[in-house]
Symmetry: C2
Subunit: 345 residues, 2 copies
DNA sequence: TTGAAAGCGCTAACAA
DNA sequence: TTGTTAGCGCTTTCAA
């Protein structure tokens, strides 16, 4: 009941050596059967639990991995965490959540933890590596780090991703197949590769359908609600307003819909809206949002699985792992309202 | 650059003993000034970082705390986590997230971590203590555990809470002040004390205003979207349907609004809806949800602060800490549509 | 004010 | 198959 039962206590009680107890408990297979059982039973009876610090000190491993994100406050990461956690738990690893808030200081701190052995590996979801300070000359080779959902070029690190470009293309193709031709895009902010990929997918789909993209149809937001609202207003006040808007994430799509409602437009009657991410509540939104669903938990699980392979010396995949997305068709998209001049056609 | 600089390396380089280095770095005040500075500078230059396992093994402390919740997938907890994390970070503690999924096995496991020294303390947000197995005879005394947002009676543990009953009363009073008299409640599930408190607040407010509560006006949900939908339908098909519904959490409120829309009712035109929690996206919802906002980050911060006091031997507060809530009035509530028979009055 | 030495609990060479 | 022994890196008596 006290947590202070040590290996040596079990050894003394059973008249064996501590080493044998350690071996029996760690299933090293080097202990003869009757001994092994006796030891395990006694350990259970005494409620023995290993001292993790002592073990870690000795083995130089921590049996913990770090999952580092920009903002723990973003529910988006929760599903990823669940996947990571499930896979980690099965392999006997604990998961520590790391929150960078985009602070280079903190990003560096988590790499320190890795270096110092406080964690054996890292699932990184921030899109950047520490550059300054003690890592200014580059990171050590063969760092047990897996990048998920973000891309870090030339890092040589394993990546688990989705195909942002193809998914964006799917989203826009859905609008085209409904009959829309005037389709605008609210993109993500500029230095981010992900924004560019989704924008690229939008352009791909438009081009493939032979549709022109007026200069003003590409607006740049910041992934937040407010920019969705603002840019929707801007788009709808164009001389030739779009009949559909593809937003680079759900939050901007929500903003778009809110602004449309404020303008007296119905969604999807007057304006179709597609988002990207399928976040919590997209389904409950009014109208339910048509959006691209990412397999977040699977991404987490895959990232952890790759990380475990690395930790066990099995090596890492050469190419990025691309997980499939699905277009969730819900209530925010419909065929465009027929125009009068089309009637005569 | 290697994470392998040890105290003994610094000691050798400076011609002092490891003990002196340890003392200088831990600021024990027992090192003379010139030595102290030299050591600290050298440590910085060599980029020394202590081996946490070794330190923990020696000091029998882990400088980590556990934050245990029912479901990491619930964004609600993220803000609490942020508060806990901020306070912990300032005090040099790491935060480990624990996810129980309501599994007694896992709940027990986290208490084991506490007992085994893998964590020094715990912020518990699950509403129950492990009972079975190795804790069947009760938990050790003076466990460094703080309960946040939930209540565990007779545990003697410090609590950080909000006043659920008063907050629910505020929510209903808001509806009453708008002129509603037919106000129904969708409560949370039964064995939970929190559900009862919010239900109690609803009854308080109704009684204080002299309003009757028809038997069918109190429905019991499960905090999930679906039950909100289902129970809203049930309520609106009563011979005397309510003009306002107070849901015990936001998710059920969203369900309520979705069901109302499906029934062709406008919110707040035909039905006012109030939620509880002010979760992520309540503000972006259509219509924006009137709800009770809890100071989640502050709850987390307060819980961690109390925990730190306990860990430093400063003792715990006798009475629960109650943090204030605020009623966020948004677009989902309005005065009831005047009835024809009221016109003649 | 500093140093020497012991030891936290565990595992892994090495030996038997 | 089991035991002996050493040592992971740190902190903390105790002694100087």
């Amino acid at each position: 009941m006290n947590g202070r039962v040590k290996i040596i206590d079990i050894a003394a009680k059973l008249g064996v050596s501590p080493a044998t107890v350690s071996r029996a408990l760690s299933d090293s297979g080097l202990v003869a059967e009757p001994t092994r059982s006796r030891i395990r039973e006694e350990a259970a009876a005494l409620n023995y639990r290993p001292n993790v610090s002592a073990r870690n000190l000795r083995t130089r491993r921590s049996k913990a991995v770090l999952m580092v994100v920009r903002d723990v406050g973003n529910p988006f990461y929760l599903d990823v965490l669940k996947g990571v956690e499930a896979a980690a738990r099965e392999a006997g690893y604990a998961v520590l959540m790391g929150n960078t808030e985009n602070d280079p200081e903190r990003e560096t701190g988590f790499f320190d933890m890795l270096r110092d052995g406080q964690a054996d590996g890292m699932v990184l979801i921030t899109g950047q590596l520490p550059q300054a300070g003690r890592y200014s000359e580059g990171l050590p080779e063969n760092l047990p780090v897996v990048v998920a959902l973000e891309m870090i070029d030339k890092s040589g690190l394993p990546h688990i991703q989705i195909d942002n470009r193809a998914a964006a293309r799917d989203a826009v193709q859905h609008l085209i197949s409904l009959g829309h031709t005037r389709i605008a895009h609210i993109a993500g902010p500029l230095p981010e590769q992900m924004s560019e990929l989704r924008l690229g997918g939008y352009r791909d789909a438009m081009q493939a359908a032979g549709l022109a993209i007026p200069a003003d149809y590409e607006q740049r937001g910041d992934y937040l609600l407010g920019s969705g609202k603002r840019l929707c207003r801007a788009l709808m006040s164009l001389p030739q307003p779009p009949t559909a808007i593809f937003a680079a994430n759900d939050e901007m799509a929500f903003g778009t819909i809110a602004a449309a409602h404020e303008l007296g437009l119905s969604v999807p009657g007057d304006l179709s809206v597609v988002g990207f991410d399928d976040i919590y509540l997209s389904e409950a939104f009014q109208p339910p949002l048509t959006t691209i669903s990412q397999p977040r938990a699977e991404v987490g699980r895959a990232a952890m699985t790759v990380l475990l392979d690395i930790l066990e010396g099995k090596g890492a995949p050469e190419a990025p792992l691309i997980l499939p997305t699905t277009l969730q068709i819900r209530g925010s998209t419909a065929a465009p309202r027929p125009l009068v001049r089309l009637r005569s056609a």
